[in-house]
Point group: C2
Chain length 228, copies 2
């Protein structure tokens, strides 16, 4: 780890120039670098990374050059160093806490996934209005009454609300998230939050929209086939 | 519906000029227009649509102008007409079939959601390698042996594979999807498909990447707070 602090400073100072489009691709790099680390690899060049990630090698060199000095001609990238830097940029080296609001099929499936723990996030509780679910546990995490959300968050610092409620409960849930002082919202509902109004950091996963982009591309492909 | 066919032709001819960024926003319009229809509304102007969707009114006018002549000054948009046009563009007025590959928590949660039926998609079956799951039903849909995937798809025309397998099973699943002649892949795995190689239409939902974009923005917000 000789010279590591210098390098870290380099990326810290370089960070300000990283564009949003590069940032949006960083989780993908993070994902593949972690897989490579887990498989015991230490170095990789842009050509091999390119065929793994299905990005062009020049795209990869461009993206990673933003941080300065990661790759060396003929030697390739130091996987662990790259992974450490990208972790720090993404905040994946910090610890966060989360609650899941809505303990339906999706909320419970998310609670059982390893997605959170793999990213330094601890899920503290699920919340629901359904009396039949309240008091149950899923993946050792208790489902609490929605009325307990605000007091629970006052007693426990909560960074992230994972929102999986039906649209009828959306307004109420957003109001409570605001009252609870939660800053980050991972939004799985079919509704949009107003970032201006509440000062939230929001990441939307509109699964239905994604599915519909797929049918759009299928329709275009079908129509092309018919034309030929 | 007087003059409807003319209007439809107008959008058909206009379609070729619709940019990818507009297309990517169309599912969001579709979602809100459907909610408005369900609530019994017939017309809406760009200002009101703007406050609902949290897009600027000028963005909305720009997006919808792509299709030509939807809005009228002072009268607003005809919601049903707009919904019909956008449905046709997105292929939401067609019927598709899907199979879910991987009957774990996420696969089963998706099978139970109303997302597919609301978009003209029928889920025919789930597939898994786990002997304990094979033969069970979830939301009246049978979980079949993964070895039956290719023969099942030969007997039933299948448009979409919803891929929710762990990364160890990814390569095998992709090979079988190719053999089964399925064209559309809704990919929930942590791996990337190669569109060139298989001629797939792919829509990726990398949930972990989305979660990590959220922690990135939380980290930036935290760091800003510390600076002030």
């Amino acid at each position: 780890m000789d010279g590591f602090e210098d390098k870290e400073f380099e990326y810290e100072s370089g960070r300000k120039y990283v564009s949003d489009s590069v940032i949006s691709r960083l989780p993908r790099y993070f994902r593949y670098l972690r897989m490579l680390l887990e498989s015991g690899r230490t170095r990789i060049n842009s050509t091999e990374l390119s065929s793994l990630m299905h990005l062009t090698a020049s795209q990869i060199r461009q993206d990673l050059n933003c941080f300065g000095g990661f790759g060396k001609q003929g030697v390739g990238y130091d996987i662990r160093y790259l992974h450490t830097c990208i972790s720090a940029i993404l905040g994946a080296d910090r610890q966060y806490t989360a609650v899941i609001i809505g303990a339906g099929d999706l909320g419970r499936a998310l609670a059982r996934s390893r997605m959170f723990s793999g990213r330094g996030i601890t899920v503290l509780s699920l919340f629901d209005v359904n009396r039949q679910l309240i008091g149950q546990e899923t993946a050792d995490i208790l489902i609490r009454d929605m009325d307990e959300l605000v007091p629970f968050c006052c007693a426990n610092k909560v960074d992230i609300a994972v929102l999986t409620v039906p649209k009828e409960s959306f307004e109420d849930a957003v109001r409570r998230i605001g009252e609870a002082g939660i800053k980050g919202v991972w939004n799985f509902t079919s509704m949009e939050l107003d970032p201006e109004q509440q000062g939230f950091v929001i990441e939307n996963v509109h699964l239905g929209d994604s599915l519909q982009r797929l049918t759009y591309h299928l329709r275009v492909a079908q129509d092309k086939e018919k034309e030929n």
